[in-house]
């Protein structure tokens, strides 16, 4: 028995003595924010982003990311300072007081990590509160861009930093459909079910590809053989999500998510890392 885990990224799921799980379609949560902390540590001081506020939902996905970020940003010699650090329940739908409290800490960059509903509420409350920050990062605008665009509007997303997933990168896959092909197929199949096309749709597609490839390479369907087959793909399989890469405990560490920023027209441009960037970060009043 081997658990194909599509997108359950909690770091606690994976350990060396647990050979029963492999993560398929996105990186483990502790790796998700790698470009984010690199961006803050390397570019932040130059851009005047030295005081960081961290607000996160206390579930596994966002909580783990917050922990990884905190550790990285507090490392000895860090040029930035965390001035606000609060977790909120994932059920939180009211951010006005939190935004006010964050403003009281006078941060340069606000990093808000939530689920879809959290990010919608946060960004709407931010827009309606009249509070301005130099820079704001939110997690889901880059993951479920359609949903966020519909709920927050491009006026609410303008200037927001977020992860750029396969949605915004449009990588050329060696296995599976291209972004345009997948989007078309998805709209055809699910267009009127009310489920928006987003990064999770890509993750589902990639999961299918990894399983297909694994089955093609497996000698038997026994756990050890399946696991060996999945590991044999590591570093080789290039999908819409990027290069699939497994750590020995089964956590996925490839498919990294660069940092992007929305422009006023609602386009998401990559601003970090430099080798992928197609725009410069704009620091202003978000």
């Amino acid at each position: 028995m081997l658990l194909f885990d599509p997108t359950g990224t909690g770091a606690a799921f994976f350990s060396k003595d647990n050979p029963y799980i492999v993560l398929l379609a996105d990186p483990v949560s502790s790796v998700w924010p790698r470009y984010l902390w690199e961006f803050v540590l390397n570019e932040g001081p130059k851009l005047g982003l030295k005081r960081i506020a961290l607000l996160y939902a206390t579930n596994d996905f966002t909580g783990t990311q917050a922990n990884a970020l905190r550790t990285a940003l507090k490392a000895p010699g860090s040029p930035v300072e965390i001035v606000f650090d609060e977790g909120v329940p994932t059920s939180t739908s009211n951010y006005t007081v939190l935004i006010d409290n964050i403003a009281a800490a006078n941060p340069d960059l606000v990093i808000e990590l939530g689920y879809t509903g959290n990010d919608i509420a946060f960004l709407r409350n931010l827009q309606d509160s009249g509070q301005k920050f130099k820079a704001v990062f939110a997690l889901y605008p880059g993951i479920e861009t359609n949903v966020l665009m519909k709920n927050v509007d491009k006026s609410g997303l303008a200037g927001i930093f977020t992860y750029v997933t396969a949605l915004g990168l449009d990588l050329k896959p060696e296995a599976g459909l291209s972004l345009a092909e997948l989007r078309e197929a998805y709209e055809k199949a699910y267009g009127n079910t009310g489920v928006e096309f987003g990064w999770n749709a890509i993750a589902g597609h990639v999961t299918g590809i990894v399983i297909t490839e694994a089955l093609a390479h497996a000698d038997t369907l026994a756990q050890e053989d399946l696991r060996k087959a999945v590991f044999s793909l590591s570093g080789k399989l290039k999908t819409l999500d990027g290069t699939f890469e497994l750590r020995e405990d089964g956590a996925q560490i490839g498919e990294l998510t660069p940092i992007g920023q929305f422009d006023a027209e609602g386009n998401l441009r990559v601003v970090y890392p430099p080798e992928l960037a197609n725009a410069k970060p704009v620091i202003g009043q978000t």
């Binding site: 909120v88 059920s91 009211n94 007081v97 509903g117 709920n151 009310g194």
Partner: protein, 291 residues
């Protein structure tokens, strides 16, 4: 920070009073618990969403339309479900089962019909930007929602205390047996109360996309918990106590977010436990039920 939590909490609390009001009215009159209340709020939100996006109707126009429509839709629902329930010996307990089932059905059908994605109304459909209240800036759309809630609650109060129907309704709430013996038509009052309860849920729903950021078909259950907390804190069976309960919840939530943000969603549970331990009849209430 404290002032902001208080000011924002009062505005937020007005809305939560509206959220619980219908639930408490139905409980007060019929001694049944409408566990589908939160899902009716969700349906009200969906109705407002489609009225805005398909018909271009502002939430302020949608509000009376949804409330009126929900009232009319509630009457056949009442006729189909309630008389048999109310005739049962353990109506209060059975109502949990019945309305839990209804809640599941509504949620499932809504998920099929609308899909699980978050939906919302743009703030500009009501009012964009901030407004300064008590020296604190809060979203204008919240202030509008709270204002509508205050108006609805005010009208509800007036009709409950200054109309004949209101007097009959309060008589039924005070003692159904005695009211029936006094010649009050229980089933008529109950049907109207149920209709009003559903209408108030629908009305609260119209403003949910502003107050809660976004809405999904699955939001009903958690709204139920909040509505139940505001009702119990105020006083079970006394609709006006719910106003107080809503304010306690609103201010409490924002204070929790300010000082213990990680634990904020424990608030409804904490309030419920505290009330059950120390003031089972609610902060404002007398003991209304024996069981």
């Amino acid at each position: 920070m404290l002032l902001h939590a208080l000011a924002g909490g009062l505005v937020y609390g007005c809305y939560f009073a509206l959220l619980g009001l219908g639930l408490n009215l139905v409980f007060g009159v019929m001694r049944i618990v409408n566990l589908a209340h939160g899902d009716l709020i969700m349906l009200g939100a969906m109705a407002a969403y489609f009225l805005y996006h398909l018909a271009g109707l502002s939430p302020l126009w949608a509000a009376p339309l949804v409330a009126g429509g929900f009232f009319l839709l509630a009457l056949p629902l009442y006729a189909a479900l309630l008389p048999r329930l109310l005739a049962a010996r353990e109506a209060e307990m059975l109502s949990f089962t019945l309305f839990f089932g209804l809640q599941q059905i509504i949620e499932a059908l809504a998920a099929i019909a609308f899909g699980p994605s978050e939906r919302s109304l743009p703030a500009r459909s009501l009012a964009a930007g901030p407004i300064v209240l008590l020296g604190q800036s809060v979203p204008k759309s919240w202030a509008f929602s709270a204002l509508v809630a205050v108006i609805a609650i005010g009208l509800f109060y007036l009709s409950l205390h200054h109309t004949r129907l209101g007097l009959f309704t309060r008589a039924v709430m005070a003692s159904p047996e005695e009211a029936a013996a006094s010649g009050i038509d229980l089933s008529r009052i109950s049907a109207i109360a149920f209709g009003l309860g559903v209408a108030l849920a629908g009305l609260a729903g119209v403003f949910a996309p502003f107050m809660l950021g976004s809405v999904t078909p699955a939001m009903g259950a958690s709204l139920n918990l909040v509505a139940f907390a505001t009702v119990v804190v105020g006083s079970l069976g006394a609709p006006l106590g719910t106003i107080f309960g809503g304010l306690v919840y609103g201010v409490g939530l924002l204070l929790m977010q300010t000082y213990f943000s990680t634990w904020a969603d424990l608030l409804p549970d904490l309030l419920l436990i505290a009330i059950l331990l120390f003031r089972p009849s609610g902060l404002l209430g007398r003991r209304l039920r024996v069981a």
